[in-house]
Amino acid sequence: MAESLAIQMDRTPGGAIVARLRGRIDGRTAPDLMMHGLAELESGRTVILNLSEVTFVSSAGVGAIMVLFQTAERQGIGLRLAAPSEAVLSVLGILNLEQFLVIDASESDALRAIGG
């Protein structure tokens, strides 16, 4: 079986990090996302999670995103969610979490917002 979550990391010319996620963020893949995300946040750069191709987010997935968000916040750096899919939005909506997160309609919107 193929990896159920693919994470592709890119550095933009402006120095931000864009992580493109594809697949499911569930109990199996959430630790992976958390580990990669925390490692990138170490660098002190803004991280954009492109969630347009995420097909499912479980509670563990929400947990991972929120841990990343709060870590970024503590370090005074930005974490933005770009183009979240319906699967992402509905879970965040159920848990009333979208009010705290920075959500951009598209990746380019996110890049524009950070001036990169």
Binding site: G27, A30, M34, S59, A60, V62, G63, A64, M66, V67, Q70, I94, L95, N96, L97, Q99, F100
Partner: protein, 687 residues
């Protein structure tokens, strides 16, 4: 385990060895015996010839003398005595007359060779006129007696008993057999010793395997053997080591399974079961565990002031971890529930206690409310939990209550507090509160479609009138059908609170005094008295039959003399209740029975009605309307509206209702009316 082998390897090998050796020896022995016989015969022939020749030499001189018998007789006798195996020793002259013989009496008589003699086939070298004859019993050599000048003087004959030859052969055979036996015995002994030495490792191996069989995997088999058996011992030792590893992991698995079982048991024991009533409110919690232990929690906790704390929560982690968080949550909640009147404050305090024990990313969605049975209000706060469903009976529609609250443990600081607020829900007659975990809304069909909130509202709404238990049961059935009876992926936990559709006795009801006799008297006795009043009406359980209510009411003492409008109200109430029983009460072969027990004889019909009592008796399912198979879902929304109105009317007109399901007389509903009440309380709100 110490059973001996059925056939010892020693016996097998020794038997084979003996058989082979014996066969070989027999084959060799047969050949050897023939050779022995031949050699003995040859030797006997040669010797016989020699003896005959010697005799002939001796006899040559004697036969030339005058009395040859005097010389020959002792010679012959001596020869015969020295060789007892000789049958005869004879010397004859050239006339064939016996001149020398052991037996002196035959001297001078003619000599005749015994019968049956034939020339023998021999390798002995015969001189002129010498003969070697043989028969079955004898071997005879005849040699001519010749003078020095070559003149033939007679002949000498010596006969040998063949039996003597056979005796020699038999003696040789006996010796051979003896040797064979000695060699065989020695061979068996040696084979036995060799085999014993070879088989000793097998005994060690067997003992080792028996040890393994009894579970001792720690003692390896000590066997220094350079044959294949040594290799086998090593293999067995390896096997024991691997078995031990496998056994340890099996034990580990079993221990884990046991822990999961314990966790599930703990969860089940913490969660309330069955139904509780609080005034005219019915509370019901239910939980269905997923294959994996989940972290769902539902609880009903009485508060000291008569209110009831109701809560439902879902811990994001599954398995033992989720269950432990849930247990901690239950303990913290029990400790905190009396300290905070505000659900919001309680959830915030709970997060403070719980947060340090949660792993990063782990969280709890939680609904917490406080239910007041006097005001029928629920004050609640919801931390990221699924929205609260309030089924409004009067409107026949779902009233979803969504909040902004985020889950416990996800966000640090005071963010939770900022998103939470205390909400209030007022329960009208027949209303149903339904709060559940996402195991319900997120139950998937085989096609991957979630059950979703609208479907929950539909199912709950269409069974709300039947009470919370029925609504939960109906929803469980719908979910099972939706997921094609697959075991749920997530715990399915629900809390349902329903307010009775009609005014059932509540502690602070204003009509406490009027109510007393109805509630306190044995309902079966009331039913009996009402029947014996002789005005009972038995109707078949059809809607059409309920048209019979109106004429029946006009015949009753009391109701019969009320105004048409007042009687109509009574008719509507009885109709609504009877219709409910007909639609949802299950099979009613005996029909439904209505009886009227008039109040104290009085000329005032109003008083007679107020103190009287209607009894509705049915024999269907008590409170299990959803089982009625002919329920027509197509007409359902219309019915819902009608029922809502009907219950409202009942609420307004009825003085008191006592429902006693499952008595010896069947399900009894006792109703008392106050004909004046409808006019007085028209403006009263129902919720």
């Amino acid at each position: 385990m110490s059973a001996r082998p059925r056939i010892s390897m020693r016996v097998v090998v020794i038997s084979f060895t003996v058989a082979i050796v014996a066969a070989a020896v027999l084959a060799v022995g047969t050949v050897a015996e023939r050779n022995t016989r031949r050699a003995l015969t040859r030797e006997a022939e040669a010797r016989l010839l020699l003896e005959a020749r010697n005799l002939a030499l001796t006899a040559a001189g004697a036969l030339l003398s005058d009395l040859p018998e005097l010389t020959l007789h002792p010679v012959v006798r001596e020869l015969g005595e020295s060789r007892p195996e000789l049958a005869f020793v004879v010397v004859t002259d050239h006339h064939g007359v016996i001149q020398g013989h052991r037996d002196a009496r035959v001297l001078g008589t003619a000599w005749q060779l015994p019968d049956g003699l034939a020339p023998a086939v021999t390798v002995a070298r015969l001189r002129t006129d010498e003969r070697l004859l043989t028969s079955r019993t004898l071997l005879v050599a005849t040699v001519p007696v010749v003078s020095a000048s070559g003149q033939r003087l007679g002949s000498a004959a010596v006969g040998l008993q063949r039996a003597s030859l056979e005796r020699a052969v038999a003696a040789a055979r006996r010796q051979q057999v003896l040797w064979v036996l000695v060699v065989l015995a020695a061979g068996m002994g040696v084979t036995f010793l060799v085999l014993t030495a070879l088989l000793r490792p097998i005994g060690v191996l067997r003992a080792g395997l028996e040890r393994i069989g009894t579970g001792d995997l720690d003692t390896p088999i000590q066997l220094t053997d350079r044959t294949e058996l040594g290799l086998l011992a090593d293999t067995v030792n390896d096997m024991a080591r691997e078995l031990k590893v496998a056994q340890r992991s099996a034990v580990e698995r079993e221990r884990l399974a046991h822990e999961v079982e314990l966790a599930r048991d703990l969860q089940q024991r913490l969660l309330p079961t069955g139904t509780r009533t609080l005034g005219d409110l019915t509370l019901c919690g239910a939980h269905r565990a997923a294959a994996e232990v989940g972290g769902d929690y539902v609880d009903l906790l009485p508060l000291p002031d008569g209110r009831m704390a109701v809560t439902i929560a879902d811990v994001s982690g599954k398995g033992l971890g989720g269950c432990l968080v849930m247990t901690m949550l239950a303990a913290s909640l029990r400790a905190l529930r009396n300290e905070h009147r505000s659900p919001r404050a309680l959830l915030v305090a709970l997060e403070e206690q719980l947060a340090p024990t949660l792993k990063p990313g782990e969280f709890v969605t939680m609904f917490y409310g406080v239910l007041d049975p006097r005001t029928r209000t629920l004050v609640y706060a919801s931390a990221g939990h699924t929205p609260l469903l309030v089924w409004r009976a009067a409107a026949g529609e779902a009233d979803w209550q969504a909040t902004r609250g985020i889950p416990l443990g996800l966000m640090s600081g005071s963010r939770l507090a900022a998103t939470l607020d205390d909400r209030e829900v007022l329960l009208g007659p027949g209303d149903l509160l339904f709060q559940f975990t996402d195991g319900y809304s997120e139950a998937f069909s085989p096609g991957g479609e979630a059950f979703g909130l609208p479907r929950i509202a539909d199912v709950v709404g269409s069974h709300a009138a039947a009470g919370p238990e029925a609504a939960i049961a109906a929803l469980a059935k719908a979910l099972a059908a939706w997921s094609h009876d697959r075991a749920p992926d997530d715990d399915q936990t629900v809390l349902a609170i329903a307010r009775s559709a009609v005014a059932v006795a509540v502690a602070d009801a204003p009509t406490a005094a009027a109510r007393s006799w109805l509630a306190k008297t044995d309902p079966v006795a009331i039913h009996e008295r009402a029947r014996s009043a002789g005005r009972a009406l038995v109707l078949p359980a059809t809607m059409e039959a309920l048209e019979g209510l109106r004429p029946w009411l006009t015949t009753l003492p009391g109701p019969g003399v009320l105004s048409v409008d007042q009687r109509l109200k009574i008719e509507i109430v009885l109709y609504e209740l009877a219709a409910n029983v007909i639609e949802h009460g299950g099979p009613q072969e005996a029909g439904i029975e209505l009886a009227w027990l008039p109040g104290a004889a009085s000329s005032d019909p109003i008083a007679q009605v107020r103190e009287g009592c209607f009894v509705l008796r049915d024999r269907g399912y008590p409170f299990r309307p959803e089982r009625r198979p002919t329920f027509n879902a197509g007409q359902h929304p219309a019915w819902k509206k009608g029922r809502g109105l009907g219950l409202d009317i009942v609420q307004r007109v009825v003085n008191e209702v006592v429902f006693r399901p499952g008595t010896t007389a069947g399900n009894l509903t006792l109703l008392s009316f106050d004909p004046a009440k409808g006019e007085e309380r028209k403006e009263e709100q129902h919720g």
